[in-house]
């Protein structure tokens, strides 16, 4: 894909990965445009790539037959599909669809594996970002969904990390100790 295909998102990507060296990621990824309603992942269906939201918004559900629990929305700067990669199951554990016209970075699983093996530093930054996102989702996805006024089951937590918090990088040992002790 031509390098300028990413031009308007380079700043966001550099901020997320905390580096201007985006080539290792972008050389392995493709840009995808998703119209509203397009299903990127189907709960229980095959999954072979993860997606980073560059623009737009996605919606996440867990399904059982015709019934669903709405887990929340995914904003720009957040990934989906990483659970299928890291659990090595090859199937999605939720349904993810575009809530509005969205632009996504698609990274096939095999390309991510190649990134880990050949570009460890970039993969490490990406993995750390995925960890922070998963922590957010685990904290938000509580065990007791609530019914909304229309009778739909949903979660009240926020699945996404807002962009203004997205660029927080790993602060090292000192930051860890500060977090653990609550001392700033």
């Amino acid at each position: 894909m031509a390098a300028d295909a990413w031009a308007e998102y380079r700043e966001l990507l550099a901020d997320l990965l905390q580096t201007d060296d985006l080539a290792p990621l972008l050389d392995r990824a493709s840009r995808v445009t998703a119209p509203a309603g397009l299903q990127l992942l189907k709960d229980g269906g095959p999954a072979d790539a993860m997606y980073l939201v560059l623009d737009g918004r996605l919606e996440v559900h867990v399904e059982f037959g015709a019934h669903t629990i709405r887990l929340g929305e995914i904003e720009p700067g957040n990934w989906v599909g990483e659970v299928a990669y890291y659990t090595r199951c090859g199937t999605a554990c939720s349904t993810v669809a575009a809530l509005m016209p969205s632009v996504l970075l698609r990274l096939p699983f095999e390309a991510y594996t190649d990134l880990i093996r050949s570009q460890a530093e970039v993969a490490c930054r990406l993995a750390h970002r995925l960890i922070v996102m998963q922590v957010q989702r685990l904290r938000a996805t509580v065990n007791d969904p609530v019914l909304d006024p229309e009778g739909r089951l949903l979660m009240l937590g926020d699945l996404s990390i807002p962009l203004d918090r997205a660029s927080r990088h790993h602060g090292g040992l000192l930051e860890f100790i500060r977090n653990l002790t609550g001392v700033r």
Partner: protein
């Protein structure tokens, strides 16, 4: 069984070198615990990353009116406690031994040293933690699907 060899079979460890595995294995303390031993308490911080090696660990939490909810059972090869170590916030559930268990524990101090992205080992360890959290998220979604199944058994 050698802990190092066992670690090498677990998700996320496949990117680690032999030397990396040595470092992680040597930092872990493996012990046997009796039925009912509580490893992590709800609303308290974790002080170690635990790996269930043999037996079963049950996960449950106290909800409204202190009612106890059984969430799931962990099987050998599953980690627990990582979420609290990563974000420095309290554990969300109780984790206790169901029968006698063997558990490997990585103390907080060792976890903090390993969970640094400034080294090759630290980078590899990030994938271990990402795998552990992904397993937890998958289990959480599975529990929610089972909840739907109980509410709407007809599908």
């Amino acid at each position: 069984m050698l802990l190092k060899r066992y670690l090498g079979t677990l998700p996320g460890f496949d990117y680690m070198s032999d030397e990396d595995l040595d470092h992680v294995a040597s930092a872990m303390q493996v012990e046997e615990y009796p039925d009912g031993h509580v490893f992590l308490y709800q609303d308290k911080p974790a002080h170690a990353l635990h790996l269930l090696i043999e037996g079963e660990v049950k996960v449950g939490y106290y909800g409204r009116l202190s009612r106890y909810y059984a969430v799931r059972s962990l099987k050998p090869g599953e980690f627990f406690g990582g979420l609290s170590l990563v974000d420095g916030r309290p554990v969300m559930a109780n984790y206790s031994a169901e029968g006698a268990v063997k558990v490997g524990s990585l103390p907080l101090s060792a976890f903090l040293l390993l969970y640094q992205p400034n080294s090759a080992l630290g980078c590899h360890f990030q994938h271990v933690i990402a795998s552990h959290l992904a397993m937890d998220l998958k289990a959480r979604h599975l529990a929610l699907r089972e909840l739907l199944g109980k509410m709407y058994p007809e599908g």
